[in-house]
Symmetry: C2
Amino acid sequence: MKKADADVMRSTNRKAVLSALRRLGPLARVDIGASTLLSPAAVSGITADLLSEGMLREVTAPTSAAPSSRGRPRILLDINPDAAAFIGLRLTSDRLDVFQGDARTILQGHTVFTVKTRQLSSNGIADFIEQSVRRFIDERSVDIRNLAGIGIAVQGIVDETVGCIRWSPILSCTPVDLGGALERRFGVPVMMDNDANTLGLAHSVEPQRSRNGCLVSIMIGYGVGMGIVIDGRVYRGNRGSAAEFGHMKISGSGALCRCGARGCIEASVGDYAIYRDAREILELSPSVTLPADGATMEEIAAEGRRGNAAICNLFRHAGSVLGLGVSNIVNLLAPEAVLITGAGTASFDLMKPGFDEALMPNILPSVRDITEITVMDWSLEIDGRGTIAMAVQHWIDERSAA
Amino acid sequence: MKKADADVMRSTNRKAVLSALRRLGPLARVDIGASTLLSPAAVSGITADLLSEGMLREVTAPTSAAPSSRGRPRILLDINPDAAAFIGLRLTSDRLDVFQGDARTILQGHTVFTVKTRQLSSNGIADFIEQSVRRFIDERSVDIRNLAGIGIAVQGIVDETVGCIRWSPILSCTPVDLGGALERRFGVPVMMDNDANTLGLAHSVEPQRSRNGCLVSIMIGYGVGMGIVIDGRVYRGNRGSAAEFGHMKISGSGALCRCGARGCIEASVGDYAIYRDAREILELSPSVTLPADGATMEEIAAEGRRGNAAICNLFRHAGSVLGLGVSNIVNLLAPEAVLITGAGTASFDLMKPGFDEALMPNILPSVRDITEITVMDWSLEIDGRGTIAMAVQHWIDERSAA
DNA sequence: CCTATTTTGTTCAATCAAAGAAAAAAACCA
DNA sequence: TGGTTTTTTTCTTTGATTGAACAAAATAGG
């Protein structure tokens, strides 16, 4: 149990004000007071501080939709987008996405750099990222002095406390202290996390999502990842090793997973599993190297849609494995929502029969209907916003304490 | 994000002081300061308040083991056991355990009342509990005016926010607003929860357990329950429906579970499952009614220990299902510890081969060794302390705000 | 056109809790 | 007895919120 003193109070309330603005857009001081339950005087004081520090700015009536009532007109405040610039990075096996975002967590730009990460050394990867980001910064003329943080999403197992990648399928040599390396190179805080956690965070900061309760995001791609967000914070478990949904076993036997065990969800649902099985059915040329690229996966799905029964069955089975897995999550965690996304959902139409068959019957009756289960197309934009959100959150936490 | 004001500060620090005392036993003011990081002045002030309110008391040196150093001797403070009395209840299909506890969460007494809960109506169950508790109070001459709260553990699905049993295997008519009924009858707050949650809480307040991180307790009995405690708070999920470990599926097929689905852990590991299968092997007289009692289960286990291969296999299979389930939990939540307990662990020796076979190989290598997995004999005492702890926690929360 | 009304934002003294510093208390030691 | 050490209390200061009075800026209406 932690103590509280004046500093904690101050920082809590500053955070409350910033958080209200972050979630509810430009707000007048009265509204901030209503939302945070702070007194007008307190709001005045806090916003005055934040304004003088440059974190907030006054917004001149945005062609005020407000039905200009009488009384003194409200002055809208908003987080100052120019208060800081953020870089978000998303590293996968074949590309590096670089995002630029402002303090409002709004994306300002994006560029892709292609790279084969497995061919790089520990230093090589840091070098490549540094060069790419510097190029990005130059081209977009981001004010480097304004850079306040970097957020990175990578596949694999990450120790987010120190920014170290403990293991990753996209790197040939681990552990890599990538976070530390980039912090030294750019001189700003670097927040790193698993791609699924990042995605979960990205969704949890969406305006329509509640900041309380539990949100689970499942990401189907080459493998299968999961992010658990509880009360707005990513749940990580002991040593940041939680949320290995892909390696939940739904039977003691089954296909061999790359983790060495049998029966993992990933070994039936992940792209690599689909590809592995589809190869035998379609007699695909073995030259196509793993990891399977999007085009190949799309080709396999197309074959299924054309009516190839064996392929249909493959996807159907994947769907039922996924459904069973999700039912376990719902029984276990009863989250408010489960979002299923990632590149793999492109062929969800083929998985759906199996998924539907397995999902509801296996959710306890008493738990049914209390969790919203949504399959959504994956969007690079949401993903990018997640990386920015990580960096922004850290920045706000730090600036609130000051 | 909630605001903070002087009240929050005060209540936070009062709670910090009480929490330190609760965990670390009698403490001098200096020690409280060291533990909470509060200044001596603050500790003095807060403890003075708490003393005058009667929540704390000074403890005269308990044959002070302290090597009587020089300087002003320390005055030990402790939570005043007489500040309040608590009743803990544990309701199962055939008995009601009534516990008495003090403000230190120390058990003062215990009595069992036998009852067949399924034969009672909604009102009947409340009547029976009221009568039993009143008898208990009379016999032990508990000062009823001192009664500050009641904690109840029941099997089933509980809405702990309103104290309502939504469904329970031990009741024939649900939902039952038992919490409300008892609140009206005794005029004190009634905290109700699932038995597995209660047990999880009980373990999480044990002195050697850290108050942070995630603790999972799995309870094997007639069914299989689970309690998740994160950062000292029971995790409940949406509408309190989480932690249905017993109905996690470890395969799409398998024995039929009482929930209607197939492949539930409970349907292989729960007492009723073992009994159901053992009956066919041993040709037990079908007269023995479900739920199987402890003696019958012990008899079945004894048969296995005598070398009955079919029975051994039965337990071995149960063990492997359990092991697989636990491995899923570890992969998913990476808790600090998983405690397996409950009456069913009496035959864990027979399950162990299957359990060991299934557990470690199915835990991701990177997650192995970061979770402590313990099988412990079930103890009524710990269980009882859990019920008391629920009530005490609520009482402290309320008294801290005052 | 001018004044009353309404709503928003600010200022200032009051308050509350913790922190810091100094003093008091209660032992031990020589 | 006087000095030392450790614990606890007391007193003052600090820092934050609050409440209330006040100032500002617009509309409504005669």
